[in-house]
């Protein structure tokens, strides 16, 4: 474990009766890219506000470099924020906005000019320095906000949906640019988004938040391949989630049919949920299929076909296949044991990790 630059210990937040965060725990390693991912209203902005110091945690501790910072005022924290609503100063032009933080720190004028120029170049706004904020488009303003924060080279940069107003191409460009910058300067990023593709593409670590709780923390691959529960599986990527019964280690029963799988460590005959990603399902002929189904819809999406089909038990399956089929056709669906991921009901993240470790060690 590297050292944690930032840590939340049992942090809770209430607005009167309204509980927004419940017992949030996490550590943030210096120099990494973290993403907070969750639906609207789940508490992402609230977490950032507590880190930045605009809001106080109702309970628990916030540590920065090992020091408790609950009572340190916002202007003394080595953190900068890209605000969800940009919060650009309307009475200053673009360059003055970007220069603000450096001026406050008393940096030399010539240095400020140079760094403002660099920052504007970074967000593809060369030559916009003299423009009034009101004369900038939404996407341009968002980039000014990024420049204004990043120019200060803080230890931790908080980005609240910092790319949400950009068109797809610019967004992908900026994603790459931010990622590169983050690696170059070694700044720790905490990025908030509700775009899961963005989260998967950019992050070292993703924290999935729902209802004021961290549901799961892990690398994009971990979270995608081994979601902890129904919410995570459903929220990240597309998935087929079906109820099943764990017969014994490495055997799960779905719809009365036994399948080999790679999960273990559960009670015999425990009720579980089974996740299979649409891209892991393949279409084949009826006799070769592990499941038999009828094709309902087919949608061409450029790279593949998005197919829905229902099996004999009227359960609907989402399949992404590069092979074409026809609507109404009887087909077989095949998948491998590794494609099946079994989730227990109400398993905590610690128990989940422990269970994974226990049987993955067995295999070695």
């Amino acid at each position: 474990m590297g050292k944690n630059i930032l840590e939340f210990k049992h942090v809770g937040k209430r607005y009167d009766e309204n509980v927004v965060l419940r017992d949030i725990n996490f550590g943030v390693e210096a120099g990494k890219f973290y993403t907070l991912l969750g639906p609207s209203g789940s508490g992402k902005t609230t977490i950032l506000r507590i880190i930045a110091g605009f809001d106080q945690a109702s309970s628990g501790e916030v540590l920065f470099d090992g020091q408790r910072i609950n009572d340190v005022p916002a202007n003394q924290r080595q953190v900068n924020t890209v605000f969800q609503d940009y919060a650009l100063f309307p009475h200053m032009n673009v360059a003055e906005n970007v220069a603000f933080g450096l001026q406050i720190k008393g940096v030399k004028k010539t240095v400020i000019q140079q760094r403002v120029k660099e920052a504007l170049h970074l967000v593809r706004l060369d030559g916009y320095g003299e423009r009034a904020i009101t004369a900038m488009s939404g996407g341009q303003r968002q980039r000014v906000a990024i420049a204004r924060a990043i120019v200060n080279r803080p230890k931790v940069l908080l980005l609240d949906e910092a790319l949400s107003a950009l068109d797809h191409k610019l967004r992908v460009d900026m994603q790459r640019e931010l990622r590169q910058l983050q690696r170059q300067l070694g700044i720790t990023f905490i990025f908030v988004t509700h775009d899961q593709e963005e989260a998967l593409a950019m992050s070292d670590q993703i924290m999935i938040i729902n209802d004021g709780r961290i549901q799961q923390t892990g690398t994009p691959v971990d979270i995608y391949d081994e979601p902890l529960n129904h919410f995570v599986a459903d929220f990240i990527g597309e998935s087929n989630i079906v109820p099943g019964v764990m017969k014994k280690d490495y055997v799960v029963n779905i719809n009365g049919q036994d399948f080999e799988c790679v999960d273990a460590g559960m009670k015999p005959n425990e009720k579980v949920e089974v996740v299979i990603r649409p891209e892991d399902l393949d279409i084949t002929t009826v006799d070769k299929g592990e499941l038999k189904a009828t094709v309902d819809t087919q949608l061409f999406r450029g790279v593949d076909y998005q197919i829905t089909a229902h099996d004999q038990r009227e359960h609907e399956w989402k399949i992404n296949s590069i092979h074409k089929t026809t609507v109404g056709a009887q087909v077989g669906i095949v998948f491998d044991p590794e494609d099946i991921h079994v989730m227990r009901y109400n398993e905590s993240e610690e128990d989940f990790d422990a269970r994974l470790d226990s049987y993955e060690e067995d295999e070695d």
């Binding site: 930045a52 110091g53 605009f54 005022p73 916002a74 202007n75 003394q76 953190v79 900068n80 924020t81 605000f83 609503d85 919060a87 650009l88 100063f89 309307p90 009475h91 200053m92 032009n93 003055e96 603000f100 933080g101 406050i104 720190k105 003299e130 423009r131 009034a132 904020i133 009101t134 004369a135 204004r148 924060a149 200060n152």
Partner: protein, 268 residues
């Protein structure tokens, strides 16, 4: 379109009857002497007479003084009001006195400040003796500021309340202290309110005459007093109108100086 035109009629009538017509009349009157002969003498008199010049300077000086005193009191007041929980209620308390007739308030102050008034009674009770309070510059300034404060507080309050709170967070986020945030963000963004307040206070203060007479005891002679004298006492309407024209010009100048230039961002 027809209907829209119809809605404009009352407003247009009002403007013509009560704004344009009086202005035109004043302008017209200013070119006549006591014997209703067309003349430029009024302007000549005004521009060459030391008395009028002094009066004008007096007016501007006192109006400026009133404005500054009012601003110094009103800005912090408005700022504190915006920080309060029930700010709308407290704002109402500040504005309440404007609903009472000006003359009534002035008489109330005469009662308070007179030789036998409450203030002197209190001073005597404290063993400080009784003092001449009425007809002093101090009492004149006090009452004028008292009357004008709500007109200054209101626009400043409105400008302050409109500032997006996340701008203050952004400023702190970038390392600014509360004072730096105030000076660099709050103050510039509240300037439109300050300007509106200055207009609302300075311009009427130029032509104060009731307070100068009743509280100031005519020790302070302003253009307002002069106009009143010319119209009601000496019956020299021409000269009164001329001074009126001067006042109107002064108002336009103030409005021009404090006008919202509508340029946001970029001082370049």
């Amino acid at each position: 379109m027809r209907q829209k035109a119809l809605f404009i009629v009352p407003y247009a009538l009002w403007i013509v009857l009560f704004v344009i017509a009086p202005l035109a009349l004043i302008f017209y009157q200013s070119f006549f002497d006591l014997n209703s002969h067309f003349t430029l003498a009024n302007y000549q008199d005004y521009l060459t007479s030391a008395t009028y010049l002094k009066m004008t300077l007096n007016s501007v000086w006192y109006a400026a003084l009133i404005t500054v005193v009012t601003l110094v009191i009103s800005y912090p007041t408005a700022y504190v009001l915006t920080q309060l929980e029930n700010r709308q209620f407290w704002l109402l308390i500040v504005i309440l006195p404007t609903w009472i007739n000006l003359l009534l308030k002035t008489y109330a102050f005469i009662g308070l400040f007179s030789r036998t008034g409450s203030v002197n009674q209190f001073l005597q009770f404290m063993g400080l003796g009784s003092h001449q309070l009425l007809f002093t510059d101090a009492s004149f300034m006090f009452v004028a500021a008292y009357i004008e404060i709500p007109f200054m507080v209101l626009p400043i309050f409105n400008a302050l309340i409109e500032i997006n709170p996340s701008l203050l967070n952004a400023s702190k986020d970038l390392g600014a202290t509360s004072w730096q945030t105030f000076r660099r963000i709050v103050l510039p963004l509240s300037m439109p309110g300050v300007k509106a307040g200055i207009q609302a206070v300075f311009i009427p203060s130029l032509s104060l005459f009731m307070i100068t007479r009743l509280i100031g005891g005519n020790r302070v002679i302003t253009l307002g007093t002069a106009i009143e004298e010319h119209f009601l006492t000496t019956q020299n309407w021409g000269m009164g109108s001329t001074i009126g024209v001067v006042l109107i010009l002064a108002m336009f100048i103030v409005m021009f100086i404090t006008g919202d230039s509508r340029e946001k961002g970029g001082r370049h």
